[in-house]
Every structure is written in structure tokens, then in C-alpha cells.
Amino acid sequence: MTKQLRNIPKPKGSKVSGIGVYRPTRIVRNDEIAPLIDSSDQWIRERSGIIERRYANSDETVAVMAINACAEAIKDSGINPLEIDLVILATATNPAQLPNLAMEVASKIGASNAGAYDIGAACSGFSYGLAIASESVLAGDCRNAIIVGSERMTDFVSNKDRGTAFLFADGAGAFVVSASDEIGISSPTWGADGSLNDWICMTKDWPTYMNEKDGDFPALKMEGQKVFRWAISEMVGIAHKTLEKAGVGVEDLSAFVPHQANQRITDHIAKSLKLPSHVAVARDGINMGNTTAATIPLALDTLRRNGEVKSGDLALLMGFGAGLAYSGQVIVVP
């Protein structure tokens, strides 16, 4: 008779136990960008709400920023890095096809017992990765997992493109996800519509670029108005679905932390959700721009530092963007 296999016992729940971020040192204000795109500080503010953002220097690589964010999250969590069993890096801006960067991150943070891999879902990447980290803990596979979003968008955005140059920026943010006796991370609501994948994409792929004699570097391009319309029309319903799945209502929330694509999108979704006045709306993008997979932890970190949320509060997180893809969940703030 075949011997029965066994699994490790499953915990009752999972929770976010620590948050860490890395904000690149160089602050870039609108005045520095505006002349390159024939624009102005006022136009950028009105269009996006963004006042300034951070640009990474050559030493602040995707891996270095991720390592710093993870180290801060581990410290915040209070766990031993040897108790981390999984490291997930969400990024769209690893400059090399191989190796993936999560392995280096795991080594440098002392998580020598951890498996490690990268995922890509662009602006939804952090929320997707948080769901995977949570499920990995809930399955009993991990005592603790780390999800980190780290991006150097400035490597892949043309500083002369009027549609994207003022929006995108660099940074990293991480959550430690731990086993828990209570449910601290709700099931995700996620989805994708690949028929709209050319609304946010690259100007060309690498083979095309290499076969050209004097072509421009592949850069991100975006159908801004179409994406804006998609985000404000679709994400409200997704938010309601996410809350319903979690068994809570808008009145139970203390914070709404959407991907920081553009403050105009945040404004519209927040208004449409009819959030009560006690719900803090994350607006970290005003000072950080759009850092793709890093916006959600960066934005929650700012709310926490400003005392706008406290431990035990409920926060609705929502990622959305290239793919097109989206993902959301409700978490208990650590």
C-alpha cells in the first residue's frame, strides 16, 4: 500500500506583520521635468496631482531598493530573517532577463531558508504578490513570506514623452506576511483583460530594437485617456466586490490605498465609493509619482507614519494597470 503523504498543518489566517519602504534620495520636482515635455508645474499638478517624485541614482538598483525595503519591513515585523520561507519580488523593471532578482534579495536580507521568485503584473503586481504570499502562508508552506515591489521606471520611460514622463518614478516597498490566528488579509479580487494590452505597453520589443540601426530605446507608452476611463469605470465595482468578499463595508474601513497612478483617478474612485469622512485616502503619489508595483506599500507607509491609520485598522488595497490587470484585498494594518 502506498504510504500516505502529509502536509504541514495550516494556520487559521495570515496577516501583514511588517511594512518597509525605500524612497530614492533624489527628489525631482515638476519644474525639472516640465521643459522637456513643453509643459509646466501647474499643468502637471492639474493633470496628475503630482508635485514631486523620486528618481533612483545608479547605485539605487531594483535589487538594492528591494533589499532596503525588505530590511525595514523585517525590522518592523520583529521576525528573524531565518524564519522567512518565501521572498516574492514584483517588478516590471529588472533590466536583465536573467537572473531574476528575488534570489539576490533573499540572500542579502539573510533569508537563507527561503524560496524566491519574481512576478510581473505591473501596477497590480504588489497586490497579486500579496495574495500569493498570503495563500502560501495559509497553505502551511511558509511561516513568513515577504512580498516586495521595486521599480526603476525611469529606466523605461522617455523623459520627453508628454504622456508618461511626469507620471512615473522609482522606489520600493515591502510587506512581511505571517501566519496568524485571525484573518488579517482577505481573499483577493483579481482579474485581467489582455484584449486591452496595447493601452499600456512598450514602444517596441528588444529584438526589434536590436535589428534597427538607429532606433530609440524601447520605452513605455500609454493611452492615457483610455486607461483613465477604464480605471474610473471598472475599479469602483471591483472595490465593492473586494469589500463584499471580505465581509466588510466602506464604513468599516480606516483607509483606502489605491495604486497611485494619478490623483485624478484616486479622486474619482474615492468619490464614487462614497467613503465616509473617517476613511483616510492614500495620496502618496503627490510626492512619489507612479512607482508601479511599489505604490501601495509606499502609500500605506505614509499613512502610518502620518498617524492616519493605526494598528488594527482595516485598509482596502487596490492595484490596477498594464495588462490590463487589477487586484485588490482588505488587510488589517500592522
Binding site: 492639474e46 493633470r47 492615457g224 485617456q225 483613465f228 476611463r229 474610473i232 485624478r264 474619482h268
Partner: protein, 79 residues
């Protein structure tokens, strides 16, 4: 629906979405130049107008809606 009713309903939408003074809204006004409705606000106006008037305004049509009168004509034709 009369032109005046459509203009009046559009004025309410423009006020709610973009803070435009309703009394300034008339058929001859340009969304961008006179009412200062930028392209992102225009997306919101179009979405609200679609709900209000039960019409579909395709993306490629939006760029042709320069004035409030253009929008009125399109809504009348489409509804």
C-alpha cells in the same frame, strides 16, 4: 428632449464633474477654451452623459465634441 434641456443637464454634469459654473454653460461654449474642461475631465463628463442620456459616445467621437453644442447635436442624433 429639447436642446435647452440637454444643455441644462450637461451644465449639471459639468458642475458636478469639473466644478464649472452652470450659468456659464451654453451651446456656443468650448469645453476646453471657455469652460476649462481638460481631457481627463472630459472623459468623466462623457461617462456621466452616457449614463444620463442613455447613449454611447465612442472614444473616437469625443475629440469631435469641441463645444457644448457639438455634444448636444451628438446626443440628439444618438438617442
Amino acid at each position: 428632449m429639447t436642446d435647452e434641456q440637454i444643455v441644462s443637464d450637461l451644465a449639471v454634469i459639468l458642475n458636478e464633474v469639473a466644478g464649472v459654473d452652470q450659468s456659464k454653460v451654453s451651446a456656443d461654449k468650448s469645453f476646453l477654451d471657455d469652460l476649462e474642461v481638460d481631457s481627463l475631465s472630459m472623459v468623466e463628463v462623457v461617462m456621466a452623459a452616457e449614463d444620463k442620456f442613455g447613449v454611447k459616445i465612442p472614444d473616437e467621437e469625443v475629440k469631435n465634441l469641441r463645444t457644448v453644442g457639438d455634444a448636444v447635436a451628438f446626443i440628439k442624433k444618438a438617442s
